[in-house]
């Protein structure tokens, strides 16, 4: 199925993937009593954040992410996506790491888990990172900066 006006969009695959992400976050919440926020859990796994979450549990979640992707890619025949150059990835990663720690969360913690409980902090965080995300891509396009192959 395609979306009228957006021939490249994949709304059904997006919705299916989103429901799975929601289920995963629900398992963390109702099973372990915790927020499935990737930046916070990753920081905990690598000893970069104080949290009551057992480090072994944080590691289990983080290792699950590529494991799930491995399963998903082995079941589909989608072409491998392109990634930015090492220098771009390094700068982007550094900024994402600093930003998510200062902002206490990312697209999963604030976006999926926080917005769905109408957390005031998460709603402000999401509005902010969406706005700067839009502005960053718009500015890069205006400058003719292409980062993806």
């Amino acid at each position: 199925m395609t979306l009228p006006g957006f021939p490249d969009a994949a709304p059904l695959a997006g919705l299916a993937g989103g429901v799975m992400i929601g289920l995963a976050a629900a398992i963390m919440l109702l099973g372990a009593g915790r927020i499935a926020g990737v930046s916070g859990i990753a920081a905990r796994a690598f000893g970069l954040a104080d949290s009551s979450m057992p480090r072994i549990a944080a590691w289990a979640f983080v290792i699950g992410l590529p494991l799930g992707t491995l399963v998903a890619t082995s079941l589909t025949e989608a072409p491998a996506p392109g990634f930015a150059t090492p220098a771009t990835l390094a700068i982007a990663g550094l900024v994402v790491g600093i930003g998510t720690r200062l902002g206490s969360g990312c697209t999963s913690g604030h976006g999926v888990c926080g917005m769905s409980r109408l957390s005031q902090r998460s709603l402000v965080a999401v509005a902010t990172f969406m706005a700067t995300g839009f502005a960053t891509v718009a500015a890069m396009n205006a400058l003719g900066l292409e980062v993806l192959p």
Binding site: G17, G18, G103, V137
Partner: protein, 139 residues
């Protein structure tokens, strides 16, 4: 011991599969969504919408539970204060997200697709997290 690992491992695995099925391990999809004023790709809105719908139901269930199924109690954020740190950090995160089209979840998940590229992103992200920790005076 086992249940401490099984629950987060299952959640992480389903999360990672969902990210890939939803197209979020493809930086072009993510940057397409952030290209609001250009060739906009709304797919990410469907991903976020699907995830938020399911989690909104989960929060309704959570309110009726005394404790989680496999843990002694809930450990949930309870802060409600809006701080410059929250806004500034989120603003920085959005810039990095738009720059390469990756956020933390897809960064780790992409280790299964493009290990070299994803490892650079993840290592730099952890360095950024370490920088914040050091600035705050922790070891």
């Amino acid at each position: 011991m086992m249940r401490r690992i099984i629950v987060p491992l299952a959640a992480g695995t389903i999360f990672g599969a969902g990210l890939t099925i939803g197209g979020m391990t493809n930086p072009a999809r993510v940057r397409g969504f952030l290209d609001l004023f250009g060739d906009w790709d709304p797919t990410l809105a469907f991903v976020m919408g699907g995830a938020v719908m399911v989690m909104a139901l989960a929060w309704m269930v959570q309110r009726r539970m005394r404790r989680p199924v496999f843990a002694e109690g809930f450990s949930l954020p309870d802060r409600n204060d809006l701080t410059p740190r929250l806004v500034g950090g989120s603003a920085l995160f959005g810039i990095g997200w738009g720059f390469a089209g990756l956020c933390p979840g897809p960064g780790f998940a992409a280790l299964a697709i493009a290990p070299a590229s994803a490892a650079i992103f993840v290592a730099a992200m952890l360095a950024g997290m370490l920088a914040v920790r050091l600035m705050e005076g922790h070891g």
